[in-house]
């Protein structure tokens, strides 16, 4: 799970062009859409950024995310949980 977490996070950083960040800099429970404030609480993403994440997950894991799955975009942990569940159910 830790490997998957790092992998998903790396994909997100790469696709969204966060060149100055590494996985170690990211709080996996930080809200995706909250603005990046002085304390650096949120990741400051917007809805168009989610499209990049959706496309990245489709490309890397062959998992389709639909508009009904919008609830997974709370933080990186919730995205990873979703990917993990889908991979497990596809494997079984």
């Amino acid at each position: 799970m830790e490997d998957l977490k790092r992998e998903v996070c790396e994909m997100i950083l790469e696709r969204l062009g966060f060149d100055d960040l590494t996985v170690n800099d990211v709080d996996f429970q930080a809200p995706l859409f909250a603005a990046q404030d002085k304390e650096g609480i949120g990741l400051g993403l917007d809805s168009v950024d989610t499209l990049e994440i959706v496309a990245g997950i489709r490309q890397n894991y062959s998992i389709r995310i639909t508009e009904n799955d919008m609830h997974i975009f709370k933080n990186i942990d919730t995205i990873v949980d979703f990917v993990d569940q889908k991979l497990s159910s596809n494997a079984s």
């Binding site: 168009v48 499209l51 959706v54 496309a55 489709r58 490309q59 508009e67």
Partner: protein, 137 residues
Amino acid sequence: MTLSFKYKFKPRFSDIDRYGIAHHSKYFCWFEEARYYFLESILKIPQEELVQLYAPITSLKADYKKSIIFENSYVIVVSLSIDEFKSFVQFQYEIMDCNEETIYAKGLTEHVFTKSNGELLFEIPDFLYEKIKLIRK
């Protein structure tokens, strides 16, 4: 997957500013004209379907290379790029003279797809893929 086509236009009197050249804002109108021409005439999307296709622009850009003047006609070479691992499409534009020897401007627009209520679609609509595949055959 990329699909290219050409759209001819001639500037109108009202496109020209007090310097005697096309105003920079007009280029985006010509890009839009070319895009709609593509959707209607090349992809053959009927008007009634076209008005239900919500593809707002999320990014646009223009590089101005040479001034466009009233007297001449021009051609826009438009390329539509569509990638199954992207949730948006990209149009690239090159405005050229009719002999396609000189580039006057280059531009691009990126479009996502939404429902009529503004809700984002996570994938490019299937029918668009199908239409493009059909044309490329």
